[in-house]
């Protein structure tokens, strides 16, 4: 499918059609913190951001998700699942976050299908949006893609200032074009050349060289290394790195009783950095201290996810690098792993 051009002033029209007809989930700025929310109009949407504070994974895996309501009736227990998801356009996902969603597809739509994830995933069209610039924490390049990559998205918008070059990459993407042909014009050779220049320009902006060669293999022998204890001393045990991560997906299931007759069963994000993570009923915790928890996180990002699914568990978005209160920096860990024994 050939690339098209969408003028900047047409973007609002395009988004409003989704906001009014179906559902639009798009970046919203809340006092400087950017998160993806369901919006009612394009007026609420911002494109004026670099890396959103929160990745859009919460659209597919909400921090709190109702699995069903339960009630004790005359015929026994009744379970009422929530209504099915709406047809949705997820607009403005950065390439790293789209890759995060792809990584999570293996978890929630692989060998064990998760109905909640899959329902939303099937009904959502992902419109990727190229990055404005490279941030100091960014290292997507180490994973073989970059700030304009559309891989995993249904359509990909590359920002050229006054217009976007739009590529339609899947059948869902083509359906978008077919429904809104009036808004798109053909992309000329100049547009495509400008997009290539933009890509090349962004590729020159990276601050960090992160070389992953040999890291995964080395991690195998590092489980008992004293390195983890040294690293974990810094950790304050908060959930920032995991909650902002596009691929972290641990959850806990809790019941919220509402009176004697029933209640709700909720799936809530959990974090391997929390002291009660994997705490057994007996009181035993296989990860009793910071050392074990920090090690688990880096093993998962740099090894376990790949071992299970053949795709890295880190996408190089750099959120944890930027936001960790103790400046625990995964790119430093990657470098350290090669050095330590």
């Amino acid at each position: 499918m050939p690339a098209m051009v969408l003028l900047k002033e047409q973007l609002k029209v395009f988004l409003d059609r989704y906001a009014q007809r179906d559902a639009l989930v798009a970046p919203v700025s809340e006092e400087g913190a950017v998160a993806y929310r369901r919006v009612k109009s394009a007026e609420e949407v911002t494109v004026d951001f670099d890396l959103p504070t929160l990745p859009p994974k919460a659209h597919f895996l909400p921090q709190t998700e109702e699995l069903y309501r339960y009630a004790y009736g005359e015929g026994g227990m009744e379970l009422n699942p929530p209504p099915p998801a709406a047809q949705t356009l997820l607009f403005g996902a950065r390439p790293c976050d789209v890759r995060g969603i792809t990584a999570l597809d293996f978890v929630f739509a692989g060998r064990f299908g998760d109905a909640y994830w899959s329902d939303k995933r099937e009904k959502t069209t992902i419109a990727g949006l190229s990055c404005r610039r490279v941030l100091p924490g960014c290292f997507c390049r180490a994973y073989g893609y970059g700030p304009t990559s559309g891989e995993g998205a249904d359509l990909m918008l590359t920002n050229l200032g006054d217009r976007y070059v739009v590529e339609f990459l899947t059948a869902k993407g083509e359906a978008v074009l077919n429904a809104h042909r009036d808004l798109f014009g053909p992309a000329g050779a100049g547009d495509l050349e400008e997009k290539e220049n933009r890509t090349a320009n962004l590729a020159r902006q990276f601050y960090r060289e992160v070389d992953l060669r040999g890291v995964r293999e080395k991690m195998d022998g590092l489980f008992a290394s004293p390195y983890w204890e040294r690293l974990a001393r810094k950790c304050i045990g908060c959930g920032i790195c995991t909650y902002l991560c596009p691929t972290c997906h641990c959850f806990d299931i809790v019941d919220e009783p509402a009176g004697p007759g029933g209640g709700r069963r909720l799936r809530c994000w959990d974090s391997c950095m929390f002291a009660d993570f994997t705490l057994h009923t007996s009181g035993h915790n296989p990860r009793p201290g910071k050392k074990e928890r920090v090690r688990n996180r880096f093993m998962h990002k740099l090894k376990y996810h790949y071992d299970r699914y053949g795709l890295d568990g880190c996408v190089g978005c750099g959120r944890c690098v930027a936001m960790c209160p103790a400046n625990i920096d995964i790119t430093r860990v990657i470098a350290d792993v090669k050095e330590v024994g």
């Binding site: 809340e30 006092e31 400087g32 913190a33 998160a35 504070t53 929160l54 921090q63 709190t64 100091p136 924490g137 601050y207 040294r230 001393r233 810094k234 304050i236 045990g237 908060c238 959930g239 920032i240 909650y243 902002l244 806990d252 809790v254 019941d255 919220e256 009783p257 209640g263 909720l266 809530c268 994000w269 959990d270 974090s271 929390f274 002291a275 009660d276 705490l279 009923t281 910071k290 690098v321 936001m323 209160p325 103790a326 400046n327 625990i328 920096d329 790119t331 430093r332």
Partner: protein, 328 residues
């Protein structure tokens, strides 16, 4: 400041070599020029990597609690504001003062990371810093920049109460002038909120707390939140989950419950270090919440910022016949 950094390294090495401290908690170079990371030196060689510069923002005192069941002495680098955290832990009987070696660092203020990076350039490597009283001069591999304190300091430093520890075991470097600006009112943002109607206040905090992720960074970094186990994450069996203080559900109501309970828990004990606001990933202005409590305590009981002196009893942990009785 480079000389003070040398002194810090030398003193840390001496403490570790002599066995006067088993560990020195201070700062090391961070991911970029305007950032430091906590460092935990256990050998003289590691002491050589410690730094002192206007980016040593993290309050390190709470890390002591990770070693509370050991019997070794631990040295910790302490700025003026951080000393209140030392007193907090000692007064709350969480860590014995005699196990702490306070390395006091007279502080000319800490620089705002974002503003500094914009001035310095994100690729710069820091080579040296000079505190010229009214400004910091930063020397990097990209050249030299002068950052006037009035414009570049963290807001909390402009209302600094005391910029050097009063009871350090070792003071490193000479005294420097307090960066506080005359006329800067720490409670100005609180007054603005107090002037709102209840509905406006409610709308304001609804907007803030609705984006809380309950990552608990504010609690975990807080020296006044020093319970061994937190009531917010007590493991309770499923059939008792409704009886817990708070659900894992991140609804607005649960988020309010978390923040307001925490606010009441640290009332009269919050040392106003501002760490909660610094670490919040979604920019909730938590210091407005905690300064409201500080302001109330100051107005009702005429007490200074908690933790300023070693001997005080937290105001809500003590009783005086002179206490106001507005609602009794």
């Amino acid at each position: 400041m480079n000389k003070v950094q040398d002194d810090l390294r030398r003193e840390a090495a001496r403490l570790l070599e002599s066995g006067d401290a088993a560990m020195v908690i201070a700062w090391e170079e961070g991911s970029d020029a305007a950032r430091t990371a906590p460092a935990f030196a256990v050998s003289p060689a590691e002491a050589a990597g410690l730094v002192w510069n206007p980016f040593c923002v993290p309050n390190l005192v709470k890390y002591l609690l990770d070693y509370r069941y050991e019997d070794t002495k631990i040295a910790v680098a302490v700025k003026g504001c951080d000393e209140r955290a030392v007193n907090r832990l000692v007064q709350d009987r969480q860590f014995p003062r005699e196990r702490i070696v306070v390395l006091g660092l007279p502080c000319g203020g800490m620089l705002d990371r974002g503003k500094t990076l914009a001035a310095l350039g994100p690729r710069a490597r820091l080579n040296g810093v000079e505190d010229r009283g009214e400004a910091f001069v930063l020397v990097s591999d990209q050249g030299e920049v002068t950052l006037p304190k009035e414009e570049y300091l963290l807001e909390k430093c402009l209302t600094c109460v005391r910029n050097a520890p009063a009871r350090a075991d070792v003071t490193l470097g000479p005294g420097v002038s307090n960066p506080a600006r005359p006329g800067c009112d720490p409670f100005a943002p609180v007054r603005e909120l107090e002037a709102l109607s209840p509905a406006e206040k409610s709308a304001y905090w609804d907007g803030q707390f609705s984006r809380c992720l309950r990552c608990y960074a504010c609690r975990n970094v807080c020296p006044a939140c020093n319970c061994k186990e937190c009531s917010f994450e007590q493991a309770v069996p499923g059939w008792q989950q409704g009886a817990g203080w708070i659900s894992k559900n991140t609804s607005l109501a649960e988020n309010y419950t978390f923040h307001l309970i925490r606010m009441f828990d640290v009332a009269g004990r919050c040392i106003d270090c501002g760490e909660c606001e610094r670490v919040c990933p979604v920019g909730i202005p938590l210091s407005k919440l905690y300064r409201k409590v500080l302001k109330d305590a100051a107005e009702l009981f005429a007490v200074p910022t908690p933790g300023l002196t070693a001997a005080e009893i937290p105001v809500l942990g003590s009783y005086s016949p002179e206490d106001k009785e507005e609602f009794m």
